[in-house]
Symmetry: C2
Subunit: 367 residues, 2 copies
């Protein structure tokens, strides 16, 4: 995987005596030969999937260019060398150096990962980033990923998701009873608890499933990704907000041994590139959602519907109950969940006097 | 400013013949000697000022560590080598390589800079970042900063600011008539137009000014910075939201010649570090504001007040009028303003179905 281009070796090849070489190697430390690392990054996304796959490419390119080619990262889409959900195994084993995906994909390995993705009624993307850096999140996430032999970095956020596409109106929590819905993660647990049947389907199967009536509802991501998949051709109502995923965290996981083998400057480049990529994915999501939403409304005449207040209230109460039950048997899940909820509760007042009130005024008074 | 540690020169010193040296220089390209750059960064902030000064330090440290010491950046607080508002002159002249501040500080040089800081009822921090990367903002900003001989990067955002500290209640737009208020930038232009007297004071003079009644109101930043300055000891009401600065952009400006002299990998490191720093400053602001707001409310019993809807509506209409008048005489100001407003208008619908509705539900239903 890595190739050592060593100054000493090179100079030996051109026939310079050992003593001079030793001196050179000593004296020229700031400019000494550096090891070259050629790394593979496997992802859970199809190659160049909007926002997520393109985010992985941005991440790899940033590392490669910032390191002047000392750490070359090549991205492989889902299925190119390993199937999407075997990305973590490949990295844990050390066969592949790093990966890019979403924490909840690994809940079968370490249950606590799913709380790192998004918690129903939890944190916005910016609060989530702040929690990772300033609220103890990085330390907890590393503890969780170390169990899979990996170093963790946040590496992207989908932004607040939509509530999903529904073929019937949702007027009360009872309307979820018997509803067949594609909704993965913790949101799915809440819907199950409300009496729904939760179905897990891959992106490619979604449109046909709702068109044929095999499912009644689905949530995917948001306008940008949903438009690309043609969801508007089937779902009758497009509900909001995405109470279940106010900000979907993407993860970068690096084999611990490989991570530890990197010199400090390259480690810093990887860390910094992950933070920058997180912001750049959010940038793409905002711009992409802006335009896609306009197309969905104006061209495709999509019917946008807010969940009624009584439904959101019941979902809030139910989410709290379901989450508390889920974490009760696993101390690590409890630790991450409680830490995020504490940060959220402290964030609520601040968001009320800043984003919330500002966005409300901006929407209300636009001429 | 920069010191060349050159392999060729070094080898000459240890007495190796030119022909071997030439060969070495050619063949060993991936590991060749690299120039060391020692750069100074002047800032408009006091050294380690919370969020902003500390952000500048984070930025410098990230560049230095990512480059393995090939680009060493040393930060100087306001007044350490040049006064705060002479930072741009020092960088334009090339005496100093780079600076960190806020775009509207340079409106005396290029009037259009002020629209890059924040526009009343404009963009949230995340929308602002998205506009810079995906909405044409970077290109416009470079055009503006090139006029000052600089390359531009966003390098931080204060987050949504507060409306300010007031010694009297604001019940209608008429209450701004005759009000002496410290409010810089475009928000100040709007208050002036509402009949207020706008005073420009430095951070250190603010508290005394409002305590002695020399001014009636002031806006500074938000809970984190306001608490640090003790504003709660004087202002009677703490109003929200910060309609005038929904996200205050911080800038990094680099002397164009110095920027062009950097090798591509170091340029990439600077660019990436600026994006990462933008997110990290927002992270610190969110966590800091969360805690400071709780202290202000619980310990200092600060009275938080929303501007009434009629006031926000009138400020919205007035802002639009004042901005349109301001930009009418300057094509560059017009270009940046219109570009941001177009992005905002497209953002409004998306924010309604995502952040706004989500934050509303989260606030309403917390048990």
């Amino acid at each position: 995987m890595k190739k050592k281009i060593n100054r000493r070796k090179f100079l030996r090849n051109v026939g310079i005596t050992t003593s001079i070489v030793a001196l050179a190697a000593h004296k020229s430390k700031p400019t000494s030969a550096k090891e070259i690392f050629n790394w593979k990054m496997v992802t859970t996304w199809p190659k160049n999937f909007p926002g997520l796959g393109t985010g992985a490419e941005t991440f790899a390119k940033t590392i490669t260019e910032s390191s002047g080619g000392r750490l070359n990262v090549t991205v492989f889409g889902a299925g190119e060398i390993v199937p999407a959900f075997e990305a973590m195994d490949a990295v844990t084993s050390g066969a592949i150096e790093m990966g890019h995906g979403g924490p909840y994909y690994w809940k079968g390995k370490v249950s606590a990962t799913q709380y790192l993705s998004a918690i129903p009624f939890g944190l916005t993307p910016q609060e989530q980033n702040s929690w990772f850096e300033k609220g103890g999140g990085q330390e907890i996430a590393d503890k969780i990923y170390n169990k899979m032999g990996c170093k963790f970095f946040v590496c992207g956020n989908t932004g607040p998701q939509m509530g999903g596409w529904f073929n019937k109106e949702i007027k009360s929590l009872k309307d979820f009873k018997g509803l067949k819905m594609r909704i993965p993660g913790l949101g799915g647990e809440v819907i199950k608890s409300a009496g729904g049947t939760v179905v897990n389907l891959h992106g490619g199967e979604l449109l046909t499933s709702i068109q044929t009536g095999a499912i009644d509802a689905l949530e995917w991501v948001g306008p940008y990704n949903d438009l690309a998949f043609g969801m508007h051709k089937a779902g009758k109502y497009y509900y909001y907000p995405g109470w279940h995923e106010p900000g979907g965290v993407l993860d970068c996981f690096i084999n611990l041994e490989k991570w530890n083998s990197l010199p400090k400057d390259l480690q810093k480049i990887v860390e910094t590139s992950a933070i920058a990529t997180t912001q750049r994915i959010t940038n793409e999501m905002i711009a992409g959602n802006n335009q896609a939403l306009e197309i969905l409304i104006k061209e495709h005449k999509v019917k946008l519907k807010p969940f009624p207040d009584n439904v959101l209230k019941e979902l809030f109460v139910l989410s709290d109950k379901v989450m508390k039950k889920l974490i009760s048997s696993d101390p690590l899940s409890k630790e991450v969940y409680n830490s995020i909820i504490n940060f959220r509760n402290l964030s609520i007042k601040r968001s009320e006097v800043s984003e919330l009130k500002f966005l409300e005024a901006r929407s209300k008074f636009l001429i």
